[in-house]
Symmetry: C2
Subunit: 345 residues, 2 copies
DNA sequence: AATCAACTTCAAACCGCTTTGGACAGGCAA
DNA sequence: TTGCCTGTCCAAAGCGGTTTGAAGTTGATT
């Protein structure tokens, strides 16, 4: 059942039927009602492909996920971010197109997506220091919103980010307030922008108390359980082990906890741990009481908001770039406590 | 730059240009070369929307992810499965459209996707016992492939699944061979088909050795770290605790391990654990030596193959439904060992 | 009664490609 | 020479909607 057939059945022109269904005013209410009823009865659904060609809009947003060439792995936060964004798209009649792309091929994909008119705009994932993608997108005039930021980019662009710097600064201060002085940072890969900012926050907090950072206490790894475990083992095995860990992800945090408990130490009393919690649905930080003290910011909510921002930009192409900085909560769980009194031995 | 303009520049008709670019034979090799060169020079990209309307194909596949109404959470294996499928689509010029849908709305979405011609086929995720979706899809004549199976469905349909039953049977037998008799099963939610099959495999192995299953040793939960932890704590706190755990996911397995180590027990020597490892990229089971003994099957590879199957079905609509059963490997890690001698006390 | 504006409705063009059904030229067989 | 292929190329008709420009109706105004 297409528009022409429906129009024929109604004894109307396609024009009128189209307008009736799309709420245009130049159609009498009586025929509109008649058309609506007929459309429902024959469960008419306008063909997406025809609409897209006729209107010149793709009614779709692209998410380009760079994948494993060397460094990257399929990042688990994508799933929740995309779930959030997907909700927004669904509400607005947009489709979500997902491109999994080897990251040396990303440029080509952006260009194609734009030139072929497959999508109306894109979300940029995993921004890095001086990310060259933003330049490219600006050049070809492709609407986009960055999830995160790309330090070093001077021209204004649209982004939505968590205040990673402040979150990690606050977390560090919280540990310092408990008397911790040797705080290990188990960070993500530090060519990623978020990781850079988190380290900055950590260093700022230390500097503000006049504590010199110890390079041996800082590590930058992929955020897997195993890497977290290894990094923690390494730190704990040294002469002057840390009394606290600040960990960039829940998943690495599981590994850190394993390393700690394997040594017979107790989380929260012997050693403190703060993680960053993206509020992933399958990794809840406890049910009523949080297990970990954490800087928390829902990546799903970020997805929702980034999508809204992008749709707004697409609807108002002339408007200035938009930015939104979300603050992470610092939630207190059972994994932090005062520095234990040094053992007499 | 569109086809008409390009044709004009070349002094050819759109017909010829189109045919030259699409490799049709009724075009001389010399003009074909000329056209190709011009297309590259002006970097002409045919408009996706026009192609789709003209050919009547969407060149896109839908993945419908049901989401949190009550039971479900955003399943972490989706990310890897979709990454795998995405590779296949990219190779074949298809787009991947992701729909995040509250699961009471799933039917409507399938119907729309089909009636509006947004996608050419779909992958069904998370099949359940007697899943009503398959019936719906058959009724509206929508090509699909199920990731998993739906026990109870009598009409043949296309699916790709891991042999969950055999995997868990083998894993159970492996534990039995080590002398374990009290083996706890920490399963996923048992209205999901895969979980049902895993339990069946577990029960079969017990039955084959004449061991009566103990309901207290079986649990069915969402597969999160916390649930795994709780379930394990519960089992370990009883009078006759299990000497081994069979766990349906890596993530729950992390929780089980935590429960075990928290009690000062050693994984592999005091208590054995086998998990199912979907080979998620961000949850590697060790690097060289596997940490867990595991039934392993790459969900990413499953995604690749399911996508291939679906594209084949779309290309040959008249062909019979296809099925593929992947066998999981049983890989031996450090988390299993013989039953420890009972402590004298 | 004539004029005009407001309402409705429609025919046709258009979006940018694919595909059908020729048209034309050159080569070869009859 | 005529007829028939074969090889190239093209005009035009879709695909299924939206949108422009115009036309026909009505009712009110002058």
């Amino acid at each position: 059942m297409n528009l022409k057939e429906l129009a024929q059945k109604l004894g109307l022109s396609p024009t009128t039927v189209s307008r009736a269904l799309n709420g245009y005013p130049e159609v009498s209410e009586s025929t509109r009602a008649r058309v609506m009823a007929a459309a429902k009865r024959h469960n008419y659904r306008p063909n997406t492909r025809a609409i897209r060609l006729a209107t010149g809009r793709a009614m779709a947003i692209g998410h380009v996920i760079p994948t494993a060439s060397r460094h990257e792995i399929m990042n688990p936060v994508f799933a929740d971010f995309i779930a959030g964004a997907g909700e927004t798209y669904a509400r607005n009649g947009y489709d979500l197109i997902l491109s999994i792309v080897p990251d040396d091929d990303e440029d080509r994909v952006y260009r194609e997506l734009h030139a072929r008119g497959t999508v109306d705009g894109i979300i940029v994932h995993g921004p890095r220091l001086n990310d060259p993608r933003l330049r490219l997108l600006d050049d070809i005039g492709f609407p986009y919103v960055v999830h995160g930021r790309a330090t070093g980019t001077v021209t204004p662009y649209s982004w939505l980010d968590v205040n990673n710097r402040r979150a990690f600064r606050r977390a560090t201060e919280f540990l310092l307030d408990f008397g911790h002085r040797r705080i290990a940072l188990i960070n993500g890969l530090e060519f990623m922008d978020f990781a850079i900012r988190r380290r900055t926050g950590y260093l700022e907090a230390l500097a503000a108390r006049g504590i010199a950072p110890d390079p041996d206490l800082m590590s930058s790894e992929e955020m897997t359980e195993l890497r977290g475990y290894r990094a923690a083992c390494d730190r704990l095995g040294r002469d002057a082990p840390p009394t606290a860990f600040l960990v960039s992800s829940m998943i690495s945090g599981l590994g850190v906890r394993r390393a700690i408990e394997e040594r017979g130490l107790r989380l929260g009393s012997d050693i403190s741990v703060i993680i960053h919690d993206d509020a992933l649905s399958y990794l809840p930080n406890g049910e009523d009481v949080p297990i970990y003290t954490a800087t928390r910011s829902s990546v799903r909510e970020a997805g929702r908001q980034a999508a809204e921002m992008l749709l707004d930009i697409i609807a108002h192409p002339a408007s200035a770039p938009q930015q939104r900085l979300l603050e992470a909560e610092l939630i207190i769980g059972q994994s932090t406590g005062p520095v234990p009194a040094p053992r007499r031995s």
